[in-house]
């Protein structure tokens, strides 16, 4: 029987199998940030354990950083302390850190791929559930807890039980205006938030093959929102072209050798998955969420379903929505384009292309937060900033920002925010905030109109 992409990468990284127990899995790259690493460093220090492979760790500051005036000292004492702690820990342990203001600083899942740290066939971990993003390269990448961060520090390995395999195939051609974000929101709405728990997911079919790396990252990013620890897409020419010439990518002959190996990774034709789902690209439309988990999504043209269930009703009550109603024409005062899901250059191009020549609605506060310093620089270079400025949008500095609202970028109590981020949990974007997840196109249109609109009408 043939092997899946996941099998091939996993099996190449197994150091040892414990009888009737987990396997010792070798980790190639470990990404860290300020929020989930300090306790792991403390633990090693308390137990007098050195960091085993510091040159396989890369650090960035992203979760808890301001998106304005990054050249000034961070005002919030606790945040500043956490950032200083990261700097100290990295310095002490010889770990490369792209700190606030550095030209390579950015959201961990945006900066690592754009620097070529992420490569096909690798195993990668980070104390962040959206590490699944890197699976876009045919990488086994997944989020870990802080105890596991300490384990990787200590041994460059983790003890894990091999997850089951799941494949989601989407064939056909996407309709005009349907973006990668809509594809993944559609899949999660169809399958639910725990359908992938215990599984690693491979995305296959025309739709993903024809997607850019940015789009593939958006899709893999949200694998965790259906419970899957990670998502993967087979590496192909699109992948190789993206990785080539990146700062940390192998060069010359070494690169060609790698490509030859990467070409052996795609799933064999006779491989069998534990679970398979197939969807038709033509059925996908621009999506919005209406509830408090990412599985509660509908096509923007659909009405909220009528389900009699206490958790469902609690969720609608929080959102102040009614069963059976449409979201079209709902007034929206906040729009956020950013987060590790949708803060890459392509996302801002989509937004700018729609916004150009239009004016933001007066009631809307619109934050555009690039995923990295490099994305920010590209936005300026391509003249997109001028488009945003002219339309009344606010381009901020890179970071996780209003996706989880650890910094000052909080959506006020009771307000709706159409957001390109990944989670619409209660209070995720600030206490009492109400999140509607959508693509950068739907978000941009909402900002212009000041309300949710049927974008499909404008497109056709």
């Amino acid at each position: 029987m043939g092997k899946t992409l996941f099998d091939k990468v996993w099996d190449a990284h197994v150091v040892e199998t414990i009888k009737n127990g987990p396997q010792v899995l070798y980790i190639d790259k470990h990404l860290i940030h300020e929020v989930t690493s300090p306790q792991a460093f403390n633990e090693l220090e308390e137990r007098n354990i050195p960091v085993f492979r510091p040159n396989q760790i890369v650090a960035t500051a992203d979760h808890n950083t301001p998106t304005q005036n990054q050249h000034l000292p961070v005002k919030d004492d606790l945040s500043r302390n956490q950032l200083e702690q990261l700097s100290k820990n990295c310095k002490k342990n010889n770990i490369t850190l792209y700190q606030l203001g550095h030209k390579y600083n950015g959201i961990v899942h945006v900066m690592a791929p754009e620097l070529g740290i992420t490569q096909p066939g690798m195993t990668m971990v980070c104390g962040d559930s959206h590490t699944s993003t890197h699976g876009a390269f045919g990488t086994i990448a997944f989020g870990i807890g802080t105890s596991q961060v300490a384990q990787v520090f200590a041994s460059q390995c983790l003890l894990l039980t091999k997850p089951k395999s799941l494949r989601v195939t989407v064939n056909g051609t996407l309709k005009n205006g349907v973006l990668p974000k809509d594809v993944i929101l559609y899949i999660i709405a169809k399958l639910g938030t725990n359908s992938g728990t215990g599984y690693f997911c491979e995305y296959a079919g025309d739709v993903f093959e024809n997607m850019s790396m940015e789009g593939r990252m958006t899709v893999c990013n949200m694998s965790i929102e259906m419970g899957a620890r990670g998502g993967m897409i087979a590496p192909d020419q699109t992948t190789f072209d993206y990785v080539k010439d990146k700062k940390f990518a192998p060069k010359g002959d070494a690169f060609d050798k790698k490509v030859a190996y990467w070409k052996t990774l795609p799933t064999d034709a006779d491989a069998v998955f534990d679970k398979e789902y197939t969807f038709d690209a033509q059925d996908i439309e621009p999506m919005v969420t209406y509830g408090t988990n990412p599985g509660m999504g509908i096509k923007v043209t659909e009405n909220i379903p009528t389900i009699n269930d206490a958790s469902f009703e609690k969720s609608l009550q929080y959102m102040d929505f009614k069963k059976g109603e449409s979201l079209i024409n709902k007034p929206i005062n906040y729009v956020f384009i950013g987060s590790c899901t949708n803060s890459r250059i392509e996302d801002f191009r989509v937004a700018a292309n729609y916004i150009k020549g239009k004016q933001k609605a007066a009631n809307v506060t619109a934050w555009l937060v690039p995923g990295s310093k490099q994305v920010e620089a590209q936005i300026i270079k391509e003249g997109l900033k001028d488009v945003f400025d002219a339309a009344g949008f606010q381009l901020r500095q890179p970071g996780c920002s209003a996706c989880l609202a650890m910094n000052d970028d909080k959506i006020p109590q009771g307000e709706y925010c159409v957001s390109t981020s990944n989670r619409n949990f209660e209070g995720r974007q600030g206490q009492g905030s109400r999140t509607i997840l959508a693509s950068p196109l739907v978000a941009a249109a909402t900002a212009i109109e000041g309300k949710i609109v049927d974008i499909t009408k404008q497109l056709n």
Partner: protein, 196 residues
């Protein structure tokens, strides 16, 4: 890590599905650099009203419920990988979480902190929630050695699964670092002959 073998305790019901780690511990409380004190902010926005007064309708604030077992709805701990969620539950005093389904990362984090996730069938959970809601004095018994959860002195009982390795760790209070450190030579040898 604290050892765990058996526990007998009353339980607190929390019949909500898809409780995510942002509810267990909101992101604004993740600015600490140590593991202590997260219990104060456990379920912060459910335990407290907007004006910071106590939300009396929330089960953790209801004086008739107590104990170190939390019985929660399906898909507990989904969302963010923050281990702070496990730390907050432990720090508040919970030793066992019962649900019909746990999210992967949360489950691993709980086990790495001596907090036992007990996965039961949907039907067992439904009856259990009913029982403890209506009879808060009910004592539950969780026996890790035999992998059973039961309502004390009754035949209402179910077995639960746990990875054999993780079970040994919980019973002995070991963690994965101890094991991995003992494997350093094997790991170094693996690095030398990596094939990819």
């Amino acid at each position: 890590m604290e050892k765990f073998t058996t526990l007998q305790s009353q339980a607190i019901p929390l019949a909500i599905e898809n409780i995510d780690t942002d509810q267990i511990i909101p992101a604004r409380f993740l600015k600490a650099t140590d593991r202590k004190g997260f219990g104060d902010n456990l379920f912060k926005d459910w335990r407290f009203n907007k004006d910071n007064s106590i939300n009396k309708s929330f089960s953790l604030n209801n004086s008739k419920y107590s104990g170190s077992i939390l019985v929660a709805g399906d898909n507990f701990g989904c969302g963010s990988s923050r281990e702070h969620a496990a730390w907050a539950l432990s720090d508040y005093g919970f030793k066992v979480i019962v649900s019909s389904f746990f999210a992967d990362i949360f489950k691993g984090n709980a086990l790495n902190n001596g907090l036992l996730p007990v996965q039961v069938s949907a039907e067992f959970l439904r009856v259990l929630l009913d029982t403890i809601t209506n009879h808060p004095e009910t004592l539950l018994k969780v026996d890790l050695l035999n992998q059973t959860i039961s309502v004390n002195d009754t035949s209402f009982k179910e077995t639960f699964d746990i990875d054999t390795y993780k079970k040994t760790c919980m019973i002995n209070g070991y963690d994965d670092i101890d094991y991995l450190l003992s494997k350093k030579e094997t790991i170094t040898a693996f690095e030398a002959k990596k094939t990819y």
